[in-house]
Amino acid sequence: MQEVMLEKAKELLQSGAVDRVLGWKAGEFAYDITPCVFASAQELEAGFVYNDFCGNNLSKYLIKESRKGGKVLAFLKPCDTYSFNQLIKEHRIVRENVLVVGVPCQGMTDGETLKAKGVKGILGIKTEGEDFVINTLYGDRTMAKKDALPERCLSCKSKKHVVYDELLGQEGDKLDSGRFDLVNKLEAMDPEERFAFWRGELSRCIRCNACRNVCPACSCEKCVFDNDASGVAQKAAADSFEENMFHIIRAFHVAGRCTDCGECSRVCPQNIPLHLLNRKFIKDINTLYGDYQAGEDTVSRAPLTNFTEGDAEPSIVTKGGKKA
């Protein structure tokens, strides 16, 4: 696929159809890939890469890239296209300045995920069939690709692109991969257990803002938490309350807008499963207000800017009824 994409990018650059290419650039190791805007064939030749480690969602970069003038080619994975659409809906990306080329994705892993599986001192990674052969300082190791996937990819909602101008490779399908299983599990706990669980998770937060800054839905010109005039600005979680506050409000602000790309959890240096907060909102919205997938289209009304006269009352929560 990398070769096909590279050819496509060079061809479009050469023909003048696009001025820049948004893609991924190889790093020092096999896995440390950086989003990159390439301006020439030479740059592409030197560093363009597309492999199992291109997890970064590129859509958010298009907020700025699409306003720079000229046309940018953006390679988007299925889940990136949801974010892209959502940003189009919110008038954040100038659509006509972007040429979207959909690229297939079989799930993306990263160095952290491999290390969590006990791999140490990674020197090189090769793909052999459905396996990774990992060369390390301490010998070779083989790992099935599917075992190397992070949770967000194991519970992928769709391998289908919701928007593209051109598509490379086979189009995939929407999936039913049980992405609410972990939410269900948490819901089934006692409130005390849940409290202990989330307190444990959120207490690790170092307020680095990686989750917020990577999030395509968190695209505010200025975040309320950075704005001293907002009265709720906080630079560090100086009290456990602020950990809760930040993550509750962040999840609330992206509720109905979060496409569930899972970037928040990927980038969290403390491995807090932040996407489970967003998924809770998605699940609640689906059960209470009807199935809604943010980013699936560019026109539908988001659940929190919509209502029906017969909506559930907030007491549905207080009365403790498990929602169907």
């Binding site: 790093g27 020092e28 190791f29 896995y31 440390d32 890939i33 950086t34 989003p35 990159c36 805007v37 970064n56 970069y61 160095g111 952290e112 290390k115 969590a116 140490k120 001192g121 990674i122 020197l123 390390t136 300082l137 301490y138 444990g200 998770e201 690790r204 170092i206 307020r207 680095c208 803002n209 990686a210 917020r212 800054n213 990577v214 950075d226 630079k235 560090a236 979680a237 100086a238 970037e263 990927r266 980038v267 240096p269 403390q270 491995n271 807090i272």
Partner: protein, 341 residues
């Protein structure tokens, strides 16, 4: 040199942790290591390093500086500090141990930061030599020997024994507190382990990282390099690199309205943040390129220029593993070295 049988590790920790706070690397719920207050039964993590560095214990992320209590139209000023108690940090790696030297140069230089100073004075750092470095390790680029960590006391561990050696008076006191468990000897085993570690270390991909030319002499060409724009292009402006960094020492002082007064506290700041060093007139570094440049220029140029060539980095590799977009000091150094060689 003293040695303690490995099965007595629990007893060793208990001997220290019984009467003063002892912090050891332990796995958190997500399976990553962090320095955790020891309690009976807490197991020491075998991970190479903690996610958060050991600097937390001397320079915590948030620290209360002063309280103002408001009663009607009266204001009372309260120093919130209580007596600092002695504590022990056990299992600090060579890189983090070196980071204290760097932090000391900032906080203990005149005017002395008394909050930091008090913690430094009361903290005993017991280091643990590395045996299995990661590909992200590049402490050797800064002259750090992962096999011979600094600190008040040093510990090497193999399958049978822990080997201990004191480097300072605090280290002596630490060894004294575990005297009953220890016996003499172990120099040979330590030496064997060190050789092996150094051998592996030499094979790590970043072992040859060359920082030649990163100094005050080359400040201008480095500062003016056109590479910064490209390097910072994908930077999200988050604070991950700075917050996991053992040497980042910038902080902000903020006021929190408690309802009946104000709590003035400091908290880590990040040069990657858009409001970093924002003053009444505005922000001196308005773009992410400038802020990004600041971080690396500080570590690789300004700091050594002001501190006898000592870099503001210890090569722990945390930012390499944690940066959401995998941009880091190694990539920056490699790219920019072209400007000075």
């Amino acid at each position: 040199m003293r040695k303690i049988a490995k099965e007595k590790l629990g007893a060793l920790l208990a001997a220290v942790g019984r009467d003063k706070p002892l912090y050891i690397p332990a796995l958190d719920a997500s399976g990553q290591a962090r320095f955790t207050r020891w309690h009976e039964g807490l197991e020491m993590a075998r991970a190479l390093n903690t996610v958060r560095s050991a600097k937390d214990f001397f320079f915590p992320q948030t620290e209360n500086l002063v309280d103002f209590k408001v009663k009607g139209k009266q204001i009372e000023i309260i120093d919130p500090r209580s007596e600092q108690e002695d504590f022990v940090l056990f299992g600090v790696r060579a890189c983090d141990a070196r980071s204290f030297e760097i932090l000391d140069k900032v906080f203990l230089a005149d005017p002395v930061d008394t909050y930091y100073q008090s913690r430094r004075e009361h903290g005993t750092v017991v280091t643990l030599a590395c045996t299995q470095p990661e590909e992200t390790c590049f402490c050797s680029a800064f002259g750090i020997d992962a096999a011979a960590p600094e600190g008040d006391a040093q510990v090497w561990m193999d399958e049978e024994y822990l080997y201990l050696s004191a480097r300072t008076q605090k280290g002596d006191k630490f060894l004294e507190s575990v005297r009953a468990l220890a016996e003499d000897g172990g120099e040979d085993a330590v030496q064997r382990q060190q050789e092996e570690t150094r051998r592996v270390m030499a094979k790590t991909p970043l072992a040859g990282l060359n920082l030649e030319g990163f100094d005050g002499e080359h400040l201008n060409p480095l500062f003016d390099s056109e590479k910064w724009a490209e390097l910072s292009q994908a930077c999200l402006g988050c604070g991950t690199c700075t917050f996991v960094c053992p040497t980042c020492q910038c902080y902000d002082i903020r006021d929190f309205d408690t309802g009946d007064g104000v709590r003035r506290f400091r908290c880590w700041d990040s040069c990657m943040y858009s409001d970093f060093t924002k003053m009444a007139h505005g922000n001196p570094r308005l773009t992410q390129v400038e802020r990004f440049r600041q971080r690396f220029m500080h570590k690789l140029v300004y700091f050594p220029a002001n501190n006898d060539g000592q870099y503001g980095c210890v090569g722990c590799g945390r930012c390499l593993s944690k940066c959401p977009i995998s941009m880091n000091i190694v990539k920056v150094a490699k790219e920019l070295s072209k400007e000075v060689r």
